[in-house]
């Protein structure tokens, strides 16, 4: 077993607006080991990005607030750190790639300045050395070093995302959080970027938290996967466990919703209904109203997370004994 790098314990994040309280992330537990690539899958509003932002303590407050839980990074609770100490972690030990490369870069700074900025800030390197390092980083991500003095608008979407990756890896972080890094890109470019990320992750032995809604991307890049629904992790396991031995009805529904590439399916089996309003979550299981296997007790109380075999965790009454099925 590898060492744990980051552990999220019982995290709860709320957003309060106009007197309404939205529970965006609801008591989640998650562990990332050293060198591991973990995929976090969920639909819009599932709380994926909120989880990522909590790790970096970047939740906009107000309206957001981390009300409960701990985020332990190398034995240290990140939520207790001062702003100053936290800044030393961000971009240095833990860095993040944002979804949209078009807006993540500063349009009035050259890419060289933007890469060197991180290096100078965290590693106290002199200016000229930092630029040499920046050039190396640019070459690592497959962009010619002589483009250091170019501005973001002179790059295409795929190349901008490479620049963002160069910035995030410049200080050799231990954990890289990638929030939908390829959603804004075309498939052939997505493949190039995924390939690059996978290579760099192995090379630098960085842990990766890959946030996406794309089950295919996770299958390509990650070893373990967590499925989020309405602020909760409903299933967690290695990708073999989750993809080949799917337990939770929501995960099953996700797989049935995507058109298959290798086989012909005449009709898709979508999950009926919509995700519940996070300001007004139902009593009991959040998925109950959309679940094909719903049982009376799903509406009465919330199921607990249980291990269905070798750290394959599921939050569903179907697998808890003594129920209507057993």
């Amino acid at each position: 077993m590898r060492d744990t790098l980051l552990e999220i314990k019982n995290l709860k994040v709320i957003y309060s607006t106009d007197g309404k309280v939205v529970e965006a992330v609801n008591h989640i537990d998650l562990k990332i080991h050293k060198g591991e690539a973990l995929g976090l899958i969920g639909e819009t509003g599932a709380g994926k990005t909120t989880t990522a932002l909590s790790i970096l303590n970047l939740i906009p407050n107000p309206p957001g607030k981390i009300v409960e839980g701990e985020i332990c990074y190398c034995g240290q609770n990140l939520l207790k750190l001062s702003q100053r100490d936290m800044r030393a972690v961000r971009g240095n030990k833990i860095s993040m790639i944002f979804q949209d490369p078009m807006t993540a870069l500063n349009p009035v700074m050259t890419v060289g300045d933007q890469i060197a900025e991180v290096i100078r800030l965290h590693q106290k390197m002199p200016r000229d050395e930092a630029y040499i390092k920046a050039q190396e980083m640019l070459e690592t991500v497959g962009i010619p070093g002589n483009r250091l003095k170019d501005f973001p608008h002179q790059f295409s979407g795929g190349m901008k995302q490479r620049v963002v990756i160069a910035i995030s890896l410049a200080c050799n972080p231990e954990l890289l959080i990638a929030d939908e890094p390829t959603t804004a890109l075309d498939v052939t470019i997505q493949e190039q970027v995924l390939d690059l990320m996978e290579k760099l992750q192995k090379e630098f032995n960085t842990s990766l938290l890959m946030i996406t809604h794309d089950l295919g991307v996770v299958a390509e890049v990650c070893e373990t996967v967590a499925i989020m629904y309405a602020g909760e992790i409903v299933e967690y396991g290695t990708i073999e466990q989750v993809y080949n031995d799917t337990k939770h009805p929501y995960t099953r529904g996700l797989f049935d919703s995507i058109p298959k590439f290798h086989e012909d399916v005449k009709r898709l089996k979508p999950i009926k209904g919509q995700m519940p309003n996070p300001a007004n979550l139902p009593v009991g299981c959040n998925f109950a109203d959309r679940c094909p296997d719903v049982m009376p007790r799903c509406r009465e109380s919330e199921p607990v997370v249980i291990d269905v075999g070798e750290n394959h965790l599921v939050k569903c009454y179907k697998y808890i004994g003594g129920g209507d099925q057993a």
Partner: protein, 320 residues
Amino acid sequence: MSTLLEVKNLKKHFKTPNGMLHAVDGVSLKIETQKTLGVVGESGCGKSTLGRTIVHLLPKTSGEIYFEGEDITNIDKTALKALRPNMQMIFQDPYSSLNPRMSVFQTISEPLVINRVETDRSKLTKRVFELMDIVGLSADLANCFPHELDGGRRQRIGVARALALKPKFIVCDEPVSALDVSIQAQILNLMQDLQDELGLTYLFITHDLSVVKHISDDILVMYMGKMVEYTSSSQLFKNRLHPYTKALLAAVPIAEVGAKKERSLLKGEISSPVNPKPGCRFASRCAYVKDKCRTEEPVFEAVTEGHYVACHYVKEINQL
């Protein structure tokens, strides 16, 4: 089977400060009644421009368009207005394609009012509720405004609005791209049901290859305004011939463990369609490129029955 729509050598060029942008460059296609033609390609390949030009939302540069055998290439305003009810469009982004200040009822009834289809208020109301029912919107949402609804419901409004005038042909421009997978499946099923019930014909534009495989009868692959490959959906996924199509399909991440470990990385990125260089437009990224590709443009021709490809070396590459 009759041909509903036929397009011959359609071109759409845009004038830009840097020269002519060849967005659509000589596309010909045919769609049979009640069939779906999928158009795939990466961003900037001209697929949306193609759809918009066909329904006359953009003036064409050259080429011919036939609808039910009639030449509609150069029709005047009155004739176009009479034709519009037959050709509708569903737009990509349900967040920006709806007027935020119009309620669901107003949005769906607008085409009926403009075209004076239903002048009687009670009949109009009845028809709008009927449309909402068809697309699966509950009647109590009639007075809601778009911002109160989620993406899936908004896209249903877009579908209802497109159906209001009982069209024969709908151009669907990435109708599910902005939606979550579980909602995407609901809308795809809805569109298939409507096709069967109402006898619709679709031109389905998307960049998502699994979606296009699922919904299309025929598929046209485009690259930088040019047709690259054109054949039936099953044929394309079994036996693709053009190097670009091969690379494109190989790039799709598959949601299965160990489905694919080898990457056939396509070098570089789509180059600029402004003043394109002579020769094959895919030449700079093609793994099989030879000198001829850089000078001479490949002809788009049938390689086997009903399977069209534009590549000089298609036979060599596929050992045909």
